[in-house]
């Protein structure tokens, strides 16, 4: 026993200066820095001594040409330095790998620009853009938001009064699934994007430095804010169930709608050329209305109609009015955003973005037609007090919600697609001065924009970095 205690004490005391794998603390140039004078070296400073490999720091031009030499320790063991050639104006990607004192290889990526705006690390040289998996994950995220926000919205704005116990339990179950999925799918989406930026095999990805992506991109900041916000929404939802206080759902709804804006503030409407506060607001209204509509339909079909017979008439009629307002908002915001992104009508059939938008419009038409049938046939019948319809109504309402979910799937693909580049003359003045927006409007071959990972023809033809998994992934 004494021996075990001695061993434990020795292990606690020695060696005390190595406590975890190395963390990158500073870089020169710094993350996404726009430098006026081309640097002669690139230097990384870690929080502990590290061992460099010969290719510990590789600097790529936008076209994928390596412009760095052999990496070595700097003045201290904490530093790793590499010399670079004379760098002309343009964006550069730095990919680094060092051996930490615990023996693990830690890796990361960042970007900088020489007299040029640096792209976000998610658009660094070598990253391949969203895959089909990311489309599905984004769709699942939309569905989770709809279940959560739409569910709470329907409970507060459509049902209003107390629900029978079984219906109340099912309401909380569905919204809890939505809350859980929002958090989980959000993490999965972030990791998929980070994996694409880092371009590392799984064994090294687990030690990949995510800080430049979490803190240096709109996507990362939105991930942080939304994760924290929806954790709070989950807590409020739970407390509402625990204490039987529906009033707690109000702050949950407000927070949920507020933090859903993270998607609007990090997507096309915020980052692309021509974006403004109006496009961000329109995007948020579009997203919120869609979530409230689809989530409300699910609550109506799965909770209210089958489990609350005394409430279903009033709830159905109220939802009909609610949905009409939502659809009007959805269409108004959608038309505004479509005109903004596709300034010419022929863009609809001549660009890839336009094709996806056409598919979305077709599905929206189906969903609206379905809703129209409910509005024109079911609502008058229910208002007259006809109860026979309620036997078939849950399935029909569920069908409408499935049509809405299909729209969300195409919306997920649309978000990951890139609207056509507007000619320079059409851009508002502000678009060509903002660091992130200029990436779109630059005349030189471009990397992807932050909002819509996509390739210019020139960048799509580039060769991959040595550890790139693009070829195997695609």
């Amino acid at each position: 026993m004494r021996r075990v205690a001695v061993v434990a004490l020795v292990a606690l005391a020695f060696p005390a200066n190595a406590w975890a794998h190395a963390t990158l603390e500073h870089t020169w140039p710094s993350y996404r820095e726009r430098v006026q004078t081309a640097p002669k070296t690139v230097r990384l400073d870690f929080d502990q001594g590290v061992k460099p490999l010969s290719n510990s720091i590789v600097v790529y031009t936008e076209g994928g040409r390596v412009v760095s030499g052999t990496a070595r320790n700097g003045a201290r063991l904490h530093d790793v330095v590499v010399t670079v050639r004379q760098l002309p104006k343009g964006p550069y990607t730095v990919r680094w790998h060092v051996i930490s004192s615990d023996g693990h290889v830690v890796s990361g990526v960042f970007t900088f620009g020489v007299r040029y705006p640096a792209p976000p690390p998610t658009a660094a040289y070598g990253s391949s853009g969203p895959t089909a998996t990311e489309h599905v994950v984004r769709w699942l995220y939309f569905l989770a938001l709809a279940l959560l926000i739409g569910g709470i919205g329907a409970r507060l704005l459509v049902v209003r009064g107390p629900l029978p116990p079984r219906a109340e339990r099912r309401f909380y179950l569905l919204t809890a699934i939505g809350a859980f999925a929002t958090l989980e799918v959000g993490i999965a989406a972030f990791l998929l994007r980070a994996e694409d930026a880092l371009q590392l095999p799984f064994g090294r990805f687990v030690y990949g430095d995510l800080a430049p992506i979490a803190g240096g991109t709109r996507f990362g900041v939105a991930f942080i804010a939304m994760t924290l916000g929806f954790a709070l929404v989950s807590a409020l939802l739970f407390l509402s169930w625990l204490t039987d206080r529906v009033v707690l759902l109000w702050p949950a709804l407000v927070l949920g709608l507020g933090f859903a804006s993270g998607l609007s503030l990090s997507g096309h409407s915020a980052a692309d050329a021509g974006s403004s506060w109006k496009s961000e607001l329109a995007d948020w209204v579009h997203l919120s209305a869609a979530c409230l509509w689809v989530g409300g339909l699910v609550q109506l079909a799965v909770v209210v109609l089958p489990l609350a017979p005394e409430l279903r008439r009033a709830a159905f009629l109220r939802f009909s009015v609610f949905a009409t307002v939502l659809v009007a908002l959805l269409l108004a915001a959608g038309v505004y955003l479509s005109i903004l992104r596709l300034p010419h009508l022929h863009d609809l059939w001549t660009t890839g973005y336009g094709h996806v938008l056409l598919v979305k419009l077709g599905l929206v038409a189906i969903a609206l037609a379905w809703g129209g049938v409910h509005r024109l046939i079911a609502v008058p019948e229910v208002a007259r007090g006809g109860g026979r319809l309620f036997a078939r109504l849950p399935r029909s309402v569920l069908g409408e919600s499935f049509a809405g979910m299909a729209v969300l799937l195409v919306a997920a693909v649309l978000v990951d697609s890139k609207p056509p580049v507007r000619p320079q003359t059409e851009l508002p003045r502000s678009a060509s001065t903002s660091a992130t927006k200029t990436v779109v409007s630059c005349s030189a071959p471009c990397l992807r924009t932050e909002a819509g990972p996509w390739y210019h023809a020139a960048s799509a033809r580039r060769s991959s970095p040595p550890n790139s998994r693009n070829n195997s992934r695609r």
Binding site: V7, L9, N17, A18, H21, D102, V206, L228, A235
Partner: protein, 194 residues
């Protein structure tokens, strides 16, 4: 603006001390006496739930590696889940003692997360040793809530449950070079990390 990692460890260690002491007090005086004031019954499950909520900022702001982000995310979820279940049991929203298995699952998942995210051997360094030790303590302690499902009034099991949190807290207080417990003991060990 980010606090040093060790400070965050100590904040959560303090939370675990509070949890452990509440549970030990409840085990000593008995649940009936402990619950005479209603708020006391909610104290430790509420603290557990709050610690889960507070773990989310740790998960999102300490992103220097994927595995740490995932581990912190896992702890945030199991802490919230275990706290939520215990709160619901106290409130009477759920009644089966088998719900206590949520705490067992939380211990197990937390322990496995600790063991998985530590890739070095036991004696590689202080944090490796403590990660292994804490991980195995948590895995072993998962048996305690399991026992409480079968014998909910057992004083021994109640005390062991509280002690498990205190032990985890002490290990967290030890976990860093500048730790208040078993801190930078020897000049042979090199300069303190910070």
């Amino acid at each position: 603006m980010q606090p040093p990692a060790e400070h965050v460890h100590w904040m959560f260690a303090t939370g675990f001390v509070v949890l452990g002491l509440c549970l030990l007090a409840e085990a000593i005086v008995g649940t009936e006496v402990w619950s005479r004031r209603r708020w006391r019954a909610y104290l430790w499950p509420g603290t557990l739930f709050l610690m889960g909520v507070l773990m989310w900022p740790v998960m999102t702001f300490f992103t220097n590696s994927t595995i740490h982000m995932l581990a912190h995310g896992t702890w945030a979820q199991v802490l919230m889940l275990a706290g939520a279940t215990e709160l619901a049991l106290v409130r009477g929203k759920i009644s089966s003692p088998w719900w206590r298995l949520t705490s067992a699952a939380a211990f197990l998942v937390s322990g496995i997360s600790l063991l998985v995210h530590e890739q070095n051997g036991w004696f590689f360094q202080r944090s490796s040793f403590l990660h292994h030790l804490t991980g195995w303590v948590l895995v072993g302690a998962a048996a305690i809530p399991l026992g409480r499902c079968l014998r909910p009034r057992s004083i021994a099991l109640g005390s062991a449950f509280g002690l498990a949190f205190v032990v985890v807290a002490v290990l967290l207080f030890c976990d860093r070079d500048l730790a208040p417990v078993f801190g930078h003991l020897s000049p042979v060990a090199g300069a303190p990390h910070r």
